[in-house]
């Protein structure tokens, strides 16, 4: 990163000298957002902090390799379907994940856990079907999350790879058809920045790239994820039920082409 920044600085400097403008290096170095705005959203206008999307994140992360984020999208303000992109400005791969919501999604409340490599802005950007972009930003103090070992217990990492669990929770509002569930996938989600503890070489990146959750044939969400998601990817989400007999199916893929599948009948009543 430092090299990139240095190179950019030189470009800015050269540009400044040629154009005779004052040199404002500090801003260019400190803030990766203008570049991300260009690369990820092609500089389209983004409405900030307008209440459509809210993001809950710790001010100081207890564990930089496991930072919980919760996003809420106000459905009344957003026309479906929509996408949600989670970005961590200072991470080596700033786009942590993109979620595409389908007709099976309810009121959208989504939690996941991410790695944060340096004190950084964390952003949730929503695109509505009307094509408008909405963003909320939180600053999180955490560092070293991408190179921290995937598991505290080294042996567990590979032994249980691929296990999936789906937990279901009581929806809360009795009248609501919106329910909540939590998908847990045992996967080290190697970032490519961790050492192999036996060889001392870097472990190649190996991570969950795709997760698709459906209720029957209806898409709840599809996620494209990267190395910024924590080990053992964990997504807590809401979905809409249609009544008894609903089944949630999950298909997940990793960079090795490994496909994980599971299905769970939707429970009525209490979480189990």
């Amino acid at each position: 990163m430092t090299e990139l920044i240095a190179r950019r600085s030189v470009l800015y400097l050269v540009g400044a000298v040629i154009t005779g403008l004052p040199v404002t290096l500090a801003r260019a170095e400190d803030d990766p957002w203008p570049g991300l705005h260009q690369d990820v959203f092609r500089n389209r206008p983004i409405s900030e902090e307008d209440g459509l999307v809210t993001l809950e994140a710790p001010v100081r992360a207890e564990d930089a390799a496991l930072v919980p984020l919760t996003v809420k999208i106000d459905r009344d303000k957003a026309s479906a379907p929509l996408t949600l992109t989670l970005l961590i400005d200072k991470n080596p791969a700033p786009v942590a994940a993109t979620f595409f919501f389908g007709e099976g999604s309810g009121e959208i409340v989504l939690s996941t856990r991410v790695r944060i490599d340096a004190y950084s802005n964390v952003r949730a950007v929503v695109e509505t079907s009307a094509g408008t972009l909405h963003m909320t930003t939180r600053y999180v103090k955490a560092s070293g999350g991408c190179s921290a070992p995937a598991q505290k217990d080294a042996e567990l990492a590979d032994a249980e790879l691929g296990q999936m669990q789906l937990r279901q929770f009581d929806g809360g509002l009795p009248a609501s058809t919106s329910r909540e569930a939590q998908l847990m996938i045992r996967h080290p989600n190697y970032s490519g920045m961790q050492m192999n503890q036996l060889t001392g070489y870097y472990i190649p990146a190996k991570f969950i790239t795709d997760v698709e959750v459906k209720r029957g044939d209806a898409l709840v969400f599809r996620m494209e994820g990267g190395i910024s998601l924590s080990a053992d990817p964990n997504i807590r989400f809401t979905f809409r039920t249609t009544g008894p007999g609903d089944v949630l199916t999950v298909a997940a893929k990793d960079t090795d082409g490994r496909v994980l599948r599971g299905s769970w009948p939707v429970k009525s009543g209490k979480e189990s």
């Binding site: 090299e3 809950e56 919980p68 919760t70 791969a93 505290k152 045992r186 503890q197 870097y202 990146a205």
Partner: protein
């Protein structure tokens, strides 16, 4: 096809970014290779680090808790320039023929001060430097003993645990200690590993080293001095300093139950007073870990989130511990991520 697109989206999005990440990794790896150089590979009698240091090294204060068994009590504190990483208990045991050091402190400077303390008591050769586990406050003083050419001994998982963390540990400790206190500090990895159980002979005095299953970390080693009946527990035992979970809460509680059955005339905690009675010493820690584990299990069962748990679990234990706010929420986070898979 899908995979290719994914990689393009989710790895750094521009080729120049990706190239710079690769370069960054190469540079970091290069630095690590230097850092991890084995002590055996040193050339010449004096290491550059030792040559740089100031001529006068003030010895650490030590207490003789049993004949030939000395302990220096570390501060109840986080790494800071003012304490130079002197925040863990450090011990040495003197036999007829040789000295064994158990943990060396959080910087080269503290390792040197520990060595100076040993030399005020004995001139016998320092043949063994034992690390109870991977945390920097227990082993970043190892470099001070390189010239003694001891065996550096640790749990069989210690070397790989350090390989995975060295870069982060060195960077963080340099940041926390500042350039003066961190000067010359480097990582010295074990030259001998304990698979299961190992005995070292200091002359009319044996130390029994046991590699423990995952508990405080996945590389905890206990040391029992047969001559005095002293048991060195490293960070398997915290007293006053809130316990820090970096392994497995289930494993730790299970190990405590087993260790409680071990007969020991006295124990030395990794953090706390220099000496304590066994098994009484472990009861507060056991209560804390049990509380965390039962509250976290209950919250998982109730469908509460990891964020809610981190904010509330364990608060009733706060008054019993020092540094509670620094570590409790992190302990809860780690326990939650472990226990939700039950």
């Amino acid at each position: 096809m899908l995979q290719k697109r994914m990689t393009a989206t989710l790895l750094p999005s521009r080729p120049d970014l990706r190239a710079s990440l690769r370069r960054y990794l190469r540079v970091v790896f290069g630095m690590l290779c230097l850092t991890l150089a084995l002590p055996g590979g040193e050339s010449g009698p004096v290491s550059p680090a030792a040559a740089q240091t100031t001529p006068v090294v003030l010895p650490l204060s030590v207490t003789e808790i049993a004949p030939g068994v000395f302990v220096h009590q570390g501060a109840y504190a986080l790494f800071a320039p003012s304490n130079r990483g002197d925040i863990a208990n450090l011990s040495f045991v003197i036999g007829r023929d040789a000295v064994a050091v158990i943990d060396t402190g959080g910087s080269l400077a503290i390792g040197q001060a520990l060595r100076a303390a040993i030399r005020t008591v004995t001139d016998k050769p320092i043949r063994y430097v034992i690390n109870t586990h991977m945390h920097p406050d227990h082993l970043f003083g190892n470099a001070a003993f390189v010239d003694d050419r001891p065996e550096f001994i640790g749990h069989h998982k210690l070397a790989r645990a350090l390989a995975a963390r060295a870069e982060r540990y060195l960077a963080l400790n340099a940041q926390w200690l500042g350039p003066d206190a961190f000067a010359g500090t480097r990582l010295i990895v074990p030259t001998r590993s304990v698979e299961n159980r190992s005995v070292i002979d200091l002359g009319e005095r044996e130390l029994i080293l046991e590699a423990q299953p995952t508990a405080h970390t996945d590389n905890d080693l206990t040391i029992q001095d047969t001559a005095s009946g002293t048991l060195f527990l490293g960070d398997l035992l915290f007293m006053r300093h809130v316990p820090v979970l970096d392994g497995s809460i289930r494993g730790w509680l299970a190990l405590i139950s087993r260790l409680e059955q071990v007969a020991a005339a006295r124990v030395v905690p990794g953090h706390g007073p220099p000496v304590a009675a066994w098994p009484e010493a472990v009861q507060p820690q056991k209560q804390y870990l049990q509380r965390i584990s039962s509250d976290v299990r209950r919250m998982i069962k109730e469908g509460r989130s990891i964020t809610e748990a981190a904010a509330t679990v364990g608060l009733s234990e706060k008054e019993a511990w020092l540094l509670f706010d620094e570590f409790n929420a992190r302990n809860v986070t780690a326990a939650f991520a472990e226990l939700e898979w039950e």
